[in-house]
Amino acid sequence: MIEVKNIHKNFGSLEVLKGVSCYIAPREVVCVIGPSGSGKSTLLRCVNQLEKVNSGQILIDGEDVTQSRVNIDRIREQVGMVFQHFNLFPHKTTLDNVTLAPIKIKGIPKEEAQENARNLLRKVGLLDKANVYPNQLSGGQKQRVAIARALAMQPKVMLFDEPTSALDPEMVGEVLEVMKDLAREGMTMMVVTHEMGFAREVGHRVLFMDEGKIMEEGSPEQIFDNPRNERTQSFLSKVL
C-alpha cells in the first residue's frame, strides 16, 4: 500500500530524516512513536507530500509520489490526513466542511454529498452538530469532524498526525474511540501518536523513531514488553 524507501529530508542545514524506510500493508494500523523532534510528523507529512523529500522514494500503490510528473492531487484524494490542530475551515459549517472536497473535486451532486456527510457525522457521533460552525465545537468534536471530512473522500489510507496532542485530557477518549472503530472496519492507518495505550491496543505494528531514524519496529507486545534498542527502552521508561 505504502512503501517508503530510504528517504532523507533536510530543513536548511538540519537533517530531520536520515534514511527512513518502512511499509504499510493494506488494512494495517501502524503507530509511530518517539520523542519530540524525532521526525515522526515529518515522515507522515512526506507520505502525502506536504513536505518534499530530498532523496529517496515513496510508493503509494506502486506509484512513486516523489516524482514531479505525478499528479499529487489525485493521489492525495486516496490519502486522508488528520492534523494535530484540526485545521477545520472556520467559515464553513460542519456539514460544509465535510462536503466541500467531494463536491468540488469529485463533482458529487450536493444532495448526495450531504447524505454521505450526514452518515459520516452520525458515525463520529456529531450529526446534531451538522449546521454549527467549528468555533462552537469542543476540541474533541473538532477532531471528529476533521476525521469525517477526511473520510468523505473515501481514502484508501488515513494518516493521523498526533490527533489527540492538542486536546484536553477528557476529550482524548472520544477521538480514540472513533479511530478504533475505523481500525476495526479495516482502514489502513498510519498514526503518529503519544498515546501508548492506543498503540498497544490498536496498532498491528509499532515504529519507534529517534533522531531521524527508525530505531526499532515490531509488534506492540515486542516493542512495549521487550524493547531491544536501548533508546526505545529509555523512551518507554519515561512515558509508560
Binding site: 506536504l50 492531487d73 492525495r76
Partner: protein
C-alpha cells in the same frame, strides 16, 4: 475719538461685505464644485475597482516565489508604483507612454494611472491578508486533494477578505485624496474646479476652504462606512 469710530465701522463693513461676497461666490457655484466631487468619486471608484483586480493578481503572484518570472514581474510592478510619486506616474503615463498607443483622453489616462498605483498598494494588502491565514488551512485543503488554486479560492480567500477590508477602505480614502493630482492633466474633478473658481474670484479662503470641506465630508463618510463594516465583520 469720534473720527476713528466711522473708520473702524468702515473696515468691519468692508470685511462683512467680502465675507458675504465669498458666501455668495460659494453658494452660486456650489453645483460646479459638487459636480467636480462626483467626478472625483467616479475616478476613485474606478481606480480602486481596477486596482482590486490588479491587486488580487499581483498579490497572488507575490506569494509564488518559486515561479520566478511572474514573481519578478509582480515585485517590479509593486515596487515601482509604490516607490515613485503618483504625480510623476500621471505625467509619465499621460505625456510619455499613453500617446504611443494613440489618443487617450485625460479621464481615461487618469483612471489608468490611478488604477496602476492603487493596484500596487492593494497587492500588498492582499498579500498580507492571505499570509494572515493559518498555514494549516492550505495544508488541510491540499491534503483533501484540492489544487493550490481551489484551496485559495474556496478556503483562503473567503477568510482573507475579512482581514483585507479595513485596509482596503483606507486605500479608498487615500486614493480619493490623491486623485486631486489629476487636475494637472485637465480632468475636471473637484480640485481643478476649485482652481478655476479661484482664478476668477481670487478668494482663496472661501474657495479652498469649501473644497477642503467637501473632501473632508467624503473621506469622513468613507471612514464611517469602514468602521461599520469592521464592526459587522467582527461580530460575524
Amino acid at each position: 475719538m469720534s473720527h476713528v469710530m466711522p473708520g473702524l465701522f468702515g473696515i468691519n463693513f468692508i470685511q462683512t461685505l467680502m465675507e458675504i461676497n465669498g458666501l455668495k461666490l460659494i453658494t452660486s457655484n456650489l453645483d460646479v464644485l459638487l459636480l467636480g466631487a462626483l467626478v472625483t468619486l467616479e475616478l476613485t471608484a474606478l481606480a480602486v475597482a481596477f486596482g482590486m483586480i490588479l491587486g488580487l493578481i499581483f498579490g497572488l503572484a507575490k506569494l509564488s516565489p518559486q515561479r520566478r518570472l511572474i514573481y519578478g514581474i509582480a515585485t517590479f510592478y509593486i515596487d515601482f508604483f509604490r516607490g515613485t510619486p503618483l504625480f510623476v506616474q500621471i505625467l509619465l503615463l499621460y505625456f510619455g507612454i499613453l500617446p504611443m498607443f494613440g489618443h487617450v483622453g485625460d479621464f481615461s489616462a487618469a483612471v489608468i494611472a490611478c488604477s496602476l498605483n492603487s493596484g500596487a498598494y492593494i497587492a500588498e494588502i492582499v498579500r498580507a491578508g492571505i499570509q494572515a491565514i493559518d498555514k494549516g488551512q492550505m495544508e488541510a485543503g491540499r491534503s483533501l486533494g484540492m489544487t493550490h488554486g481551489q484551496t485559495m479560492w474556496y478556503i483562503i480567500l473567503p477568510q482573507a477578505y475579512k482581514v483585507v477590508i479595513p485596509p482596503l477602505i483606507n486605500e479608498f480614502i487615500a486614493m480619493l485624496k490623491d486623485t486631486s493630482l489629476v487636475s494637472l492633466i485637465g480632468v475636471s474633478e473637484l480640485t481643478l474646479r476649485g482652481k478655476l473658481l479661484y482664478s476668477v474670484s481670487y478668494n482663496a479662503a472661501w474657495v479652498w476652504g469649501t473644497v477642503a470641506i467637501i473632501y473632508f465630508i467624503m473621506t469622513k463618510l468613507l471612514a464611517m462606512l469602514g468602521d461599520y463594516v469592521e464592526r459587522r465583520l467582527a461580530t460575524e
